[in-house]
């Protein structure tokens, strides 16, 4: 029996609302362990090839109280919320956790985690902050080999080249589906709500890839039916780490905007680059890590960040850019003024919204978004 589009969207929405309940059932069904990981650029394929389920830990919008004993209030809410979920046992269904080093705050999160929750599987992946030198590549390759060995020991499974290629192919196919979905959404902005689209992406990080891939391809066949009543939308690029709170997406929709491109870790960044099927799977993973779009947590050479932002705007013919930053995120705050300058040189309108996962009042966001989208609509 094929489920209809609506039903599949409901499944995705349910998994985003309550990811770990669903995971519990799934784990019991397939008899595998689940390993959580913090964003971004995480080589999930390695966990998958070790016969375990990689699950993104994305934080949530609940209030933070327990984590206050560990973090000052000037840490970003994504990190504080992640720790809160661990402290209040939301994450108990996970068998282990990996926190990649992407910024000073995640560095401390990992350090605290190890002390507060001893035992069980835990790893800190320390990515190189340089991306363009042979020495950085060698370093990353060694770091990933170490990580791979640890996974093998924990899972009691050997990650062979063959099993890793299988996982890579599964993930590549899945990424291609998401890219197709994005292309479809660009052409038919009325067919998918913003919230629906980003829910599909989030769900893909919270479900087993096999399951998500299957549901996603099924859903896409049905989507074509939704392509009626074309409507003029204001085309937007969104830049940041994550889109939080998700109500921002509802507001964009309601106010007549459509997101046509983004560099979010819970967006394009997750599926833009495939792993090339060449000589050696681990090296192929390394090469993908290093060639990805510049995430500001890494060292950005020359004008990469600005170039890539302008490119996103031009390629998708966007009317304007929304910087959707999490408060206290240093890496985004440092890049912002020069990115803003680059946009202004090209007369591309932009808006900076600073949010937190636990933000309760949406009124101010609405007012600012409304004014911005209205102005763009008149151009």
């Amino acid at each position: 029996m094929m489920d209809g589009t609506e039903k599949i969207l409901d499944t995705f929405a349910a998994s985003v609302r309550d990811p770990f309940n669903r995971l519990k059932e799934y784990k019991a069904r397939v008899g595998k362990k689940a390993i959580g990981y913090f964003l971004t650029d995480f080589p999930e394929e390695l966990i998958h090839a070790a016969s375990m389920i990689p699950i993104a830990v994305l934080g949530n919008n609940e209030n933070i109280s327990l984590a206050d004993a560990y973090f000052q209030n000037f840490a970003c809410s994504l990190v504080r919320s992640t720790l809160e979920s661990k402290l209040n046992h939301t994450l108990d269904i996970l068998d282990g956790m990996v926190i990649p080093h992407i910024c000073d705050t995640t560095q401390c999160l990992a350090s605290i985690w190890k002390i507060a929750f001893p035992g069980g599987y835990f790893d800190e992946l320390v990515f190189p902050k340089k991306r363009h030198t042979p020495s950085a590549r060698t370093y990353l390759l060694n770091e990933l080999s170490r990580f791979k060995k640890g996974l093998e020991e924990y899972a009691g499974v050997k990650i062979t080249d063959e099993s890793l290629w299988d996982s890579i192919r599964l993930y590549n196919n899945h990424r291609e589906l998401l890219r197709k979905l994005y292309a479809f959404k660009r052409d038919h902005p009325q067919a998918l709500h913003e919230r629906e689209f980003f829910t599909i992406i989030r769900a893909s990080m919270l479900m087993a890839k096999e399951e998500h891939s299957q549901l996603l391809s099924q859903m896409m066949t049905g989507l074509a039916e939704r392509t009626t009543k074309p409507e003029k939308k204001v085309r937007l690029v969104v830049s940041g780490m994550v889109c939080e709170p998700l109500q921002v997406l509802d507001l964009i929709d309601e106010l007549g905007g459509a997101i046509v491109n983004d560099d979010l870790c819970t967006g394009s960044r997750y599926f833009l680059e495939d792993i090339e099927l060449n000589h050696n799977p681990l090296e192929a993973i390394v090469d993908r890590q290093l060639k990805k779009n510049p995430f500001p947590g890494y060292h950005i050479v020359s004008d990469e960040a600005g170039d890539s932002l302008l490119d996103m705007v031009e390629k998708t013919d966007a009317h304007g850019v929304i910087f959707l930053h999490l408060k206290f995120c240093e890496v985004h705050n440092f890049d912002y003024p020069d990115l803003k300058k680059r946009l202004e040189e090209r007369k591309i309108p932009h808006l900076l919204l600073e949010t937190e996962l636990q933000m309760t009042s949406l009124e101010q966001l609405r007012t600012r978004l409304q004014a911005f989208i209205e102005i763009l609509g008149r151009r």
Binding site: A75, D335, K340
Partner: protein, 404 residues
């Protein structure tokens, strides 16, 4: 030199002279056919001195801006340009000063190259990227991966390769090749100077202590900026002589020293004196600081690349919270201190997040309390005098209760 006949020069006079000349030379660098590099606080600057490149420290300049209480004005200029107040205020002081020309020392000479090592934080990488876009000069980043487990060969080899990349960049800049023997010489001087600095800091272990951490903060400028030069070495020789004289006279830095404490994190530059007085009133001396100890390097000049890699990767704040807690406990013992004073420094996320956990570990393992002061290095808007006073008073209430 000194004012009166036969009067010996003091370190404070010498520091004024040293730092004054240092900036003077840097400003005339181009006439002197020398190159100027802007460098981060824990950069392997020995390579610069070996190549006759003058290193300039925006962080040190920012500290001076903070200490002269120009922080708020200059930070606000950076904010107007779009830089968030949530960023490290050293970076904000630097940006504000560049954009407006405001500076307590007439500004910094502009850089020919930017040299950044992320062993202290990720902040500096992003900060120097901004500088690169502003000054349009080359930027070399030395990536010292965070020591999550141990300082292994993967990290060290990566760093050593980058040192060679750095040397090539500097050779391209100066058109001269590095004299490797000269580098060894510089490393020897740097090592000697670091040893003197350590010796000075350890004078705080005497009971009562002739020095305070606030003295350390004031005397650190030469070890940071002139490490690798004979001038810095001479400075610390003089400082040790001076301090030994105080020791001989059994002079205590704080009258009737009753409590001994150890400082964690950077200073609150605009409150050095104010805080010193607040603690002195309780007959408490903060006898040392984790921050000043960061510059107590230990080089083996016979293996330049190896020793540079070890020293500059293994920086205390490039290590995890567990290692930092162990360090804190060692220091409490070494300095016979009653507790920690932690500056929860809003600017410095990697140094400050984890302090609550360190506090807990220290309490559990050695039963010593920690006082957490929420503040900032340069931005006085994050310093709430009343709250600080309350926190200090109640800390001493507990300390007195446990010690009587």
């Amino acid at each position: 030199m000194g004012k009166g006949e036969g009067k010996k020069i003091t370190t404070s006079e010498l520091q004024r002279e040293l730092i004054g000349n240092y900036y003077l030379e840097a400003k005339e660098a181009h006439q002197l056919q020398k190159r100027v590099a802007w460098v981060t606080a824990a950069f392997p600057v020995e390579v610069c001195y070996a190549m006759d490149i003058i290193p300039i420290y925006p962080e040190n300049h920012a500290a001076v801006i903070g200490a002269r209480r120009m922080g708020q004005t200059i930070i606000e200029i950076a904010q107007e340009a779009g830089y968030s107040q949530d960023l490290c205020s050293y970076a904000l002081c630097d940006f504000g000063s560049i954009f407006s020309g405001q500076s307590p020392i007439g500004g910094l000479p502009s850089p020919d190259i930017l040299l950044c090592c992320n062993n202290q934080c990720g902040t500096v990488t992003k900060w120097y990227e901004v500088l690169r876009r502003h000054f349009k000069v080359p930027l070399v980043v030395l990536d010292a991966p965070f020591i999550a487990r141990d300082l292994n060969h993967n990290i060290l080899n990566y760093f050593k390769e980058q040192l060679e990349e750095l040397i090539s960049a500097l050779e391209a800049l100066t058109g001269k090749s590095l004299d490797r023997d000269r580098l060894k010489e510089v490393l020897e001087i740097s090592n000697e100077t670091s040893n003197l600095w350590r010796q000075y800091l350890e004078m705080g272990t005497h009971i009562p202590s002739p020095i305070t951490c606030f003295d350390g903060f004031i005397h650190m400028a030469p070890i940071v900026t002139l490490r690798g030069t004979l001038k810095a070495r001479d400075y610390y020789q003089l400082l040790i002589t001076e301090t030994k004289e105080k020791l001989a006279k059994r002079l205590s830095a704080v009258s009737e020293e009753k409590y001994r404490l150890f400082w964690d994190n950077l200073p609150i530059w605009f409150q050095l004196r104010g805080l010193a007085e607040k603690f002195a009133r309780h007959h408490a001396n903060i006898v040392g600081a984790s921050y000043t100890s960061l510059w107590a390097y230990s080089f083996d000049a016979s293996e330049p690349m190896e020793t540079l890699a070890w020293n500059y990767c293994d920086v205390l704040i490039n290590r995890g919270i567990k290692d930092r807690a162990t360090f804190a406990i060692q220091m409490l013992e070494k300095y016979a201190a009653h507790g920690l004073v932690m500056h929860s420094n809003r600017s410095c996320k990697p140094y400050s997040f984890g302090q609550y956990t360190i506090k807990k570990i220290v309490q559990e393992q050695v039963g010593k309390p920690s006082l957490v002061l929420e503040a900032d290095i340069c931005d006085p808007r994050f310093y709430q005098e009343e709250q600080i006073d309350e926190a200090i008073d109640s800390f001493f209430d507990t300390l007195t209760a446990t010690h009587n």
